[in-house]
């Protein structure tokens, strides 16, 4: 995967689209988990959400770069 991609001649980091996709994924995941009420099972829901997002983004970024 390229480290930088050009959008209309503007160079942006290659991780930006990955980040945005992960954000979208996270919103979908949030909706699902929120509907099922699973966040009531964890101690610190917002910490859990942040950690979940970091995992998602980290895995996606690493997978694409290697």
């Amino acid at each position: 995967m390229p480290h930088e991609i050009a959008i209309y001649g503007v160079l942006v980091p290659g991780l930006l689209p990955v980040f945005l996709l992960c954000l979208l994924l996270m919103v979908l995941l949030d909706m699902l988990v929120g509907r099922l009420g699973l966040y009531r099972q964890v101690w610190h829901p917002s910490l859990f959400r942040l950690a979940l997002f970091v995992c998602l983004f980290g895995v996606a970024g690493l997978l694409l770069i290697h």
Binding site: D30, M31, V33, G34, R35, L36, G37, Y39, R40, H44, P45, S46, L47, R49, L50
Partner: protein, 704 residues
């Protein structure tokens, strides 16, 4: 923009209750101060570590976004990010259009900032922040690069990165470190609203409440509906569970408003029957109402458990038709039958709505969300002419500053323009902008003074980030602390902004007293001009001009109910009327004549409007209705619409006659009942129409 945490009840200590209360308040304030400092320094450190040009932009962003409730921060951040992106894109487009024509450039920039400030007044929640930021970012991206158009792109990328970094840090810190959840407040308010309404319905044996008490109850219920919607819009950012229930909560609020309107119409009808010489019918209706009251009293422990109430109400609704038939048998006179049928239909409608409301409330409390519900929206009554005044004022301010800058060649005109941009937007949404501007001004000036001490006395010896914190934290924490005091709105925010802005932390730090003073003077001038513009062209929020217009718009809703397309009209009508009503009442003195007449009109509009919508739905659903009946019913509604548009005695007589004619033509039961209800609302001698009603003669009362 005061940030005041709502004081909740504190368990009082036995000996010194005031001390416990004081300590709880202080504890909350200092947590907020700690979180703000953490976020500001973390943001500054990250900005320096990432080698961004101006760490101060990041710090300013954090200080604007921080709020004691994390849902508020997240909501603000979301709209702020959108505003930032829109503003920077517009700034870039503007720069590429007018790289050389400075006059045209500043003119269009002023217009953009003015439009954004207008947008900020139009919305009363955090969407207004998005607008303020869209204006501010366009200015902050383009203005510093005005002498170097080729560098504008780099400048834009830098500013956007700095702002987004600030937003991110503020959001993460306030969500993770001792989060103060708005969700809890939302849950409490929703529960309180439910309890209030259920108690209200149970305890009022219909018809017995004086008009005045009904008006006040209606005001409290309308306020609760608007407040709940406001909170819902912020909490969805904080809590995925609330987000998943968002559609349901909207529907719940709408069902609540529908039930309130039905209850109130029923109550007025019974009240009128008692006064108008048909007490036997009124008694029959009250007897019919009794099972509903007993369904709502399952014993103290379960009194507010929605699932229990919903099941009991369901049983009550199922038995109602039989009871209605039994009661009806005892009446003989045609007029009494018509009156009774109208009341009974209304009662059945109310019972069904109340059951649906309780059932939906019960489903919200479950851990899992099942199925999907109808999508409805809470329509806001935004005031467009008021926003246009804001646009004009901001445009004049910005244009005057630009002209002065161009004519004088002032080297620090940029700072003045930037400050004027920020505060025209922020102050425009404030209910009392002149005093808010004064407070902010004092805060800002003292913030700059503190920053002067920090930069030229404390900071020069420091050589790492820890000593930077040591040198500035003592003065920095004054700002967030002041902003938790609700007696000084705007001072804390002004202080923090002034302090952080003029501190202008850089890596490496630059010490230039002449630049510092010039910049400070320019910023104060910009802020003062933005405030002075509010004296020249006063804010319309809460003015009698705005109230009169909103009042007219409230009456206009009855016209819309009679004429607008039916699709989604019922929801739109209920929410818009309550929003307008709440806005107007906020600025009238309680108990004054104006306030009384407002309350009375709101009730009349709600009752007639809702009935007309029901009537029109009936007409649309049933194709067997004869054209003649349809025409007279429509004519009657149009006559009522004309009356609400411009009330006077002649139009009242027209409307009364038209409704009378329609009742005479309509043979179909439900149609007739709605029409009768309209007529009875028109003839209500405690409504605002009382002045137009001719003195009663025996045949006019019993002519139906």
């Amino acid at each position: 923009m005061s940030v005041v945490p709502a004081i909740e009840s504190v368990p009082a200590s036995s000996r010194w209750p005031w001390l416990a209360e004081f300590l709880a308040g202080e504890w909350r304030a200092w947590i907020f101060v700690g979180k703000s400092l953490l976020a500001i320094y973390l943001a500054a450190w990250l900005a320096m570590w990432l080698q961004l040009e101006q760490p101060s932009t990041t710090m300013i962003t954090v200080s604007i976004v921080m709020h004691p409730h994390s849902g508020m921060v997240l909501a603000k951040s979301f709209y702020r990010a959108i505003g930032t992106l829109a503003g920077s894109l517009f700034g870039l487009a503007l720069m590429s259009l007018f790289p050389q024509q400075r006059e045209l450039f500043l003119l269009s920039l002023s217009l953009w900032v003015a439009l954004c400030a207008g947008g900020a007044t139009l919305y009363r929640n955090f969407m207004s922040y998005g607008f303020v930021l869209a204006g501010y970012t366009a200015a902050i991206v383009t203005l510093p690069a005005i002498n170097n158009p080729l560098g504008v792109f780099d400048s834009a990328v830098m500013r956007v990165s700095e702002v987004l970094l600030g937003i991110l840090v503020a959001a993460v810190v306030s969500d993770l470190v001792w989060p103060e959840r708005l969700r809890l407040l939302l849950r409490q308010s929703a529960q309180a609203q439910f309890n209030l309404f259920i108690d209200f319905v149970r305890d009022s044996t219909a018809g017995n409440m004086p008009r005045e008490q009904m008006e006040h109850a209606n005001l409290a219920l309308a306020r609760a509906a608007v407040r709940l919607e406001d909170m819902r819009a912020s909490v969805i950012f904080e809590d995925p569970e609330v987000h998943a229930r968002s559609t349901r909560m909207r529907l719940l609020n709408q069902r609540y408003m529908a039930a309130v309107t039905s209850f109130q119409s029923l109550h007025h009808l019974i009240n009128r029957l008692q006064r108008g010489g048909s007490p036997s019918v009124a008694d029959a209706l009250i007897a019919l109402y009794r099972p509903l009251g007993s369904a709502l009293s399952p014993g103290l422990a379960q009194q507010h458990q929605s699932a229990v109430l919903a099941a009991r109400l369901d049983g009550c609704v199922a038995q109602l038709p039989a009871q209605v038939a039994a009661m009806r048998a005892s009446l003989t006179a045609p007029l009494a039958l018509l009156e009774f049928d109208t009341g009974a239909a209304l009662l059945q409608r109310f019972a069904t709505e109340l059951r649906d409301f309780a059932a939906l409330e019960g489903s919200l409390r479950e851990a899992q969300v099942r199925g999907s519900v109808e999508k409805v929206h809470f329509k806001r009554g935004n005031d467009v002419p008021g926003a246009l005044v804001g646009v004009l004022r901001t445009f004049l301010t910005m244009a005057a500053l630009s002209a002065f800058w161009l004519a004088s060649g002032w080297p620090f005109g940029v700072s003045a323009m930037l400050l004027a941009t920020i505060f025209s937007g922020l102050l425009a949404a404030s209910p009392n902008p002149v005093s808010a501007a004064m407070h902010t001004f004092y805060g800002y000036a003292s913030g700059m003074l503190a920053a002067f001490v920090v930069v030229y006395v404390l900071l020069p010896g420091s050589n790492d980030f820890a000593s930077l914190i040591g040198a500035s934290a003592g003065f920095m924490l004054i700002g967030p602390y002041l902003s938790t005091r609700d007696t000084l709105p705007g001072v804390g925010a002004g202080y923090t902004l002034g302090f952080v802005y003029i501190l202008a932390l850089k890596n490496p730090m630059v010490y230039d007293p002449a630049h510092f003073l010039n910049d400070g003077i320019a910023q104060v001038a910009g802020l003062a001009l933005a405030g002075a513009a509010f004296i020249l062209l006063p804010s319309v929020i809460g003015s009698s001009w705005q109230r009169t217009r909103q009042f007219r718009r409230l009456r206009e809703q009855a016209v819309l109910a009679a004429t607008a397309p039916l699709e989604g009209l019922a929801w739109r009508f209920e929410s818009l009327v309550r929003d307008l009503f709440q806005q107007v009442v906020t600025y009238t003195r309680p108990g004054s004549d104006e306030s009384r007449s407002m309350l009375a009109w709101a009730l009349a509009v709600l009752e007639s409007g809702r009935t007309m919508i029901e009537l029109r739905q009936q007409l649309a659903a049933d194709s067997r209705i004869a054209p003649a009946v349809r025409d007279t019913a429509t004519a009657a509604m149009q006559a009522i619409a004309r009356l609400y548009h411009a009330p006077d005695a002649a139009r009242w007589r027209d409307a009364d006659a038209a409704v009378h004619a329609a009742i005479a033509t309509a043979a179909e039961q439900p149609l007739r009942l709605h029409l009768y209800q309209l007529r009875s609302a028109l003839r209500d001698d405690e409504s605002p129409f009382a002045a137009y009603i001719p003195p009663p003669s025996p045949e006019s009362v019993h002519a139906a």
